[in-house]
């Protein structure tokens, strides 16, 4: 490890320890011992390396992303992240995205669309519900099919 990397690691540990001291009432020996141990182990301690590499999610249970309190609602779909500044709110560009944007965003945020993982049947149910119960203008059959194909491809049960 370079001297700079080692210094940065120590600085990060110092910050983390400051947080712990505050959490536990501050100034006790606990925090000091932890700081001392962390400083001694920096760069060599495998647990410290794990802690530094930890991305905030449990690796063995991908659906359980909540270990990271600031994880995106659909962190596993970072490749198609909602983007309010984008012309199509970050929808993946493939056939059908304009139609989906026009119909869905007329009433609600695309963010909730992009957080879903539904089969074609699930999306079909949702479109029917939107038209029957929520006041969406009924799309022409070919447009409806285009939306279903797009939604199932980009936001199907397999995720991406």
């Amino acid at each position: 490890m370079s001297a700079l990397a080692r210094l940065l690691t120590l600085a990060a540990m110092a910050l983390a320890v400051t947080g712990l001291v505050r959490l536990f009432g501050g100034g006790d020996e606990h925090g000091a011992r932890l700081a001392s141990r962390a400083a001694q182990g920096a760069g060599a301690d495998p647990v410290l390396q794990m802690a530094n590499a930890w991305m905030g999610e449990i690796g063995y249970a991908p659906s359980y992303a909540a270990l990271n309190p600031y994880a995106e609602a659909s962190a596993e779909t970072a490749s198609s992240a909602f983007d309010p500044a984008d012309d199509y709110w970050g929808l993946p560009r493939s056939e059908g995205h304009e139609t989906v944007a026009a119909y869905c965003a007329a009433c609600h945020s695309l963010q909730i669309v992009m957080a879903q993982r539904q089969s074609r049947e699930g999306w079909d149910y949702l479109l029917t519900w939107m038209v029957d119960k929520q006041g969406m203008a009924a799309p022409a059959p070919e447009m409806r099919d285009e939306m279903l194909v797009y939604l199932t491809r980009e936001f199907g049960p397999g995720g991406n």
Partner: protein, 411 residues
């Protein structure tokens, strides 16, 4: 009263012809209710600007506004306005001082004497009550249902327990005179359907008469000794604690007593309902076999330390949090540091009052260096405990009370 079409607290920017309605129009596509959309205006970067009056919440959507609280921000014994989750089905009303001053609650339907009450009437003519009451979204935990259930993908943070001040709904209904035919309430609020159709309530739910008459079901006009945050229902809302939050109508304008189960939007079909019998995950369940959710299940959170914390191996530290169980009380809470292999009881406080969440704390020492998880498991007073994985799957992903767990590194 008006309604903000793009979400009340969203900054907007002119984007020329680029975004949303403008580009749709350019493409010649039909735009349902386009008349309600300010042309060329789109919300930008809500995630960067956040929600006014809220701190650190994870925004799930800005139209409608939905945001949940990261678990470590729920550490307060009494949830602050800044940390109370936001769940909307429609557009948040934009209220003027005049709207607030002239606010009335209508009580009608199966009553002897329909009432129209101002907020001053409520404050002056009824006994005030102040209670700590938990409100949880029925879909809290939906994200962890497999196969995925449609709807907002809440993780753990759609729960709150604030101190509410108001009057008992039972007192209001008794003043109006409950007719023998009354069996259910129907609640109405001032929010607007996302389509912009003013005739279409986004949500109107209710509760059986017995729940309405429970002394803990209140019409609240204050939270934590101050005004209710606008996003949480200012100036008036129902609190029907322990039941899906949608029973606790925000921006309350009317309560009707019904001679049958209420049939307002989100009462019927698959909304806030679960199968009447256990189903295999992924099963499509006919509407006729879905039953209305009443009490929420037993659940708990670890609010400190924050997940990912670093502690010293062999040293004692405190883990703590809250537990609640809908209509029930918590009888015990146990904590595991070895992925559920063994459990040890944590110290549990009595609730401040019925329907308040209960605080727990545990002294924990991690025996050696390494990666640990702390798991918490609450058990209610009927012996029902939280499962380690999803409970019975249901089409809309309600009532997921799986155990919460956090990561801790022992250095």
């Amino acid at each position: 009263m008006s309604h903000d079409r793009t979400g009340p607290l969203t900054r907007r920017a002119l984007v020329g012809g680029a975004g949303g309605a403008a580009f749709a129009a350019a493409l010649g596509l039909p735009i349902p209710f386009a008349r309600f959309l300010p042309k060329g205006l789109v919300p930008v970067a809500l995630a960067q600007t956040g929600l006014e009056g809220k701190e650190g919440l994870t925004v799930l959507g800005d139209r409608p506004v939905n945001a949940e609280t990261p678990v470590h921000l729920l550490d307060e014994n009494v949830t602050s306005g800044a940390h109370m989750f936001v769940r909307n089905n429609g557009l948040t009303p934009v209220l003027s001082d005049e709207d607030i001053a002239n606010w009335t609650l209508t009580v009608d339907g199966e009553v002897e004497t329909p009432l129209t009450l101002s907020i001053d009437d409520l404050k002056n003519d009824f006994d005030p009550v102040t209670l700590q009451l938990q409100i949880e979204c029925g879909g809290n935990g939906r994200k962890f249902m497999t196969p995925a259930a449609r709807g907002n993908q809440w993780t753990f943070g759609a729960i709150s327990c604030a101190e509410w001040t108001g009057v008992r709904l039972a007192d209001i209904l008794t003043r109006a005179g409950v007719k023998p035919a009354a069996v259910y309430t129907g609640h109405y609020g001032a929010d607007l359907h996302l389509s912009g159709d003013p005739e279409k309530p986004p949500l109107s739910r209710g509760v059986p008469l017995a729940k309405a008459m429970d002394p803990h079901t209140i019409v609240a006009f204050a939270m934590n000794g101050a005004e209710i945050p606008l996003l949480n229902g200012h100036p008036l809302r129902v609190i029907a604690p322990g039941w899906p939050g949608s029973c606790s109508q925000k921006w309350l304008t009317r309560i009707a007593l019904r001679d049958r189960e209420h049939d307002g939007p989100k009462m019927t079909g698959q909304s806030y309902r679960v199968p009447a019998y256990p189903v295999a995950p992924g099963t499509e369940v006919p509407d006729a076999d879905m039953k209305i959710i009443e009490t929420m299940p037993v659940k708990s959170l670890i609010t400190a330390p924050q997940t990912g914390a670093r502690v010293a191996a062999g040293e004692t530290f405190e883990a703590r949090g809250h537990a609640w169980a809908g209509d029930n009380e918590i009888a015990a809470i146990d904590v595991s540091i070895d992925f559920g292999a063994t459990w040890a009881p944590a110290a549990l406080e009595a609730p401040a009052n019925r329907y308040a969440w209960q605080h727990w704390r545990a002294e924990i020492s991690l025996p050696d260096h390494g990666y640990y998880e702390i798991w918490a498991r609450a058990t209610d007073d009927e012996g029902r405990a939280q499962p380690a994985t999803q409970p019975g799957w249901n089409p809309r992903g309600y009532l997921n009370n799986l155990q919460h767990r956090i990561a801790v590194f022992a250095l």
